[in-house]
């Protein structure tokens, strides 16, 4: 070992202070707190849809939100793991969860074209509001995951950024969706799912420069 490496080691050892190791449970607790905070904000802003709470919403409503929640949790778990590098650290669950959620808009579009209805019935007066609200509701989860990744040492920065965006989008859209009284297949399958890829793209574009180290 050369002299400069020995000097560096002596300096680093001299600078050493105790640290608290990053544990999965802390990361998952952060995600849970972000989810709870988002749900609370949505509830404060207008409350949850009463028919949904009473079990009177269309079954597709529960399926859509269940899938969004699973996607959000799978992606967030992957982000938590990716903040702590390790050779052999493969995170494929978000890809499968995203593929399952993608079936929703594909179903809506297929039905629209097979039945000859076209795109006319896909847009309603609340579409843009639900899309933007879902994206806005993703902010807290987005910040939480950016914080976790910055604190950690992600080496797959692009994948981690994409998954963080997807997780935030899914958590945001899930949370906001509980307040939306429209439970038609077209509305849910398109406008409540679209925030996910949009936030995924935003995460992939914005986060790498924030989490590189």
């Amino acid at each position: 070992m050369n002299r400069s490496t020995e000097t560096l080691i002596a300096r680093l050892a001299d600078d050493l202070i105790p640290v608290r190791p990053m544990r999965s449970v802390s990361g998952l607790a952060l995600v849970a707190a972000a989810l709870a905070g988002t749900l609370f904000s949505v509830w404060l802003a207008g409350g949850f849809w009463s028919d949904m709470l009473a079990g009177d919403a269309a079954p597709f409503f529960y399926v859509t939100h269940g899938l969004l929640l699973v996607l959000g949790l799978a992606s967030a778990s992957a982000v938590v793991a990716l903040a702590r590098p390790s050779v052999g650290n493969r995170q494929d669950a978000p890809k499968w969860a995203a593929a399952m959620v993608a079936i929703l808009p594909l179903t809506v579009l297929s039905i629209a074209f097979v039945t000859g209805a076209g795109t006319a019935g896909l847009v309603d007066e609340h579409s843009t509001h639900c899309l933007t609200s879902g994206i806005a509701a993703s902010a807290l989860a987005f910040v939480a995951m950016a914080y976790w990744l910055r604190r950690g040492a992600p080496v797959s920065t692009q994948t981690a950024s994409l998954f963080a965006g997807i997780a935030a989008g899914a958590i945001g859209s899930f949370s906001y969706g509980l307040s939306c009284p429209i439970d038609s297949t077209a509305h849910l399958g398109l406008w409540h799912v679209l925030p996910v890829p949009i936030c995924g793209i935003l995460g992939r574009l914005i986060l790498p420069r924030l989490i590189r180290w």
Binding site: T5, M22, S24, T159
Partner: protein
């Protein structure tokens, strides 16, 4: 001697608790391990810089290691990350030629090293990309020289380097 996984994990646990003596031993062992890890993948005169770069990263990100997980795969992921970053920054310099130097005798950690090695990254690249990255970024040939040696056009050499480095970055944790 290169310390084994159990010893390194034990030292790292104590280091996270603030034990400076354990940390000094850990960094010494890591420096030796990294010297072996990067051999043949970094020109000898750049080796110390890269090893020091990884030691600094280890120091700054030491809280990202969880005592419940193995230490060497964590260190190897950081080493790969800094190495890919290093390849991106390296441009030709006259003395970049790798000499056919041999490192110390193989130890019992060889199996672990092999699984974590940088070669595992290269085998996942298309041959054309791996070849030009090796020639230009590691051996220090110019684009023109690499083009002549491989038969690829100069623009293809550049494209292959660009694409290869991007792919390497995505393989840091996956290739094992």
């Amino acid at each position: 001697m290169i310390a084994d996984e159990t010893t390194l994990s034990h030292l790292m646990r104590k280091s996270q608790g603030g034990d400076k003596a354990a940390y000094t031993v850990l960094l010494d062992e890591c420096a030796s391990w990294l010297q072996r890890y990067f051999r043949r993948r970094v020109p000898p005169h750049q080796l110390d810089d890269l090893v020091q770069d990884v030691l600094l990263a280890l120091h700054n990100k030491r809280e990202s290691w969880d005592a419940g997980r193995a230490f060497l795969p964590w260190l190897a992921a950081i080493a790969r990350y800094r190495w890919v970053d290093h390849l991106r920054k390296v441009y030709r310099s006259e003395a970049d030629q790798l000499e056919d130097w041999d490192a110390a005798e193989e130890s019992g950690e060889e199996a672990v090293l092999a699984r974590l090695s940088l070669e595992r990254l290269f085998v996942n690249l298309p041959a054309g990309q791996a070849q030009v990255i090796e020639l230009v970024k590691i051996e220090g040939l110019s684009i023109a020289e690499a083009s002549e040696k491989t038969g690829q056009s100069e623009s293809l050499v550049k494209v292959n380097i660009h694409r290869g480095l991007k792919k390497l970055a995505t393989l840091i944790e996956k290739a094992e």
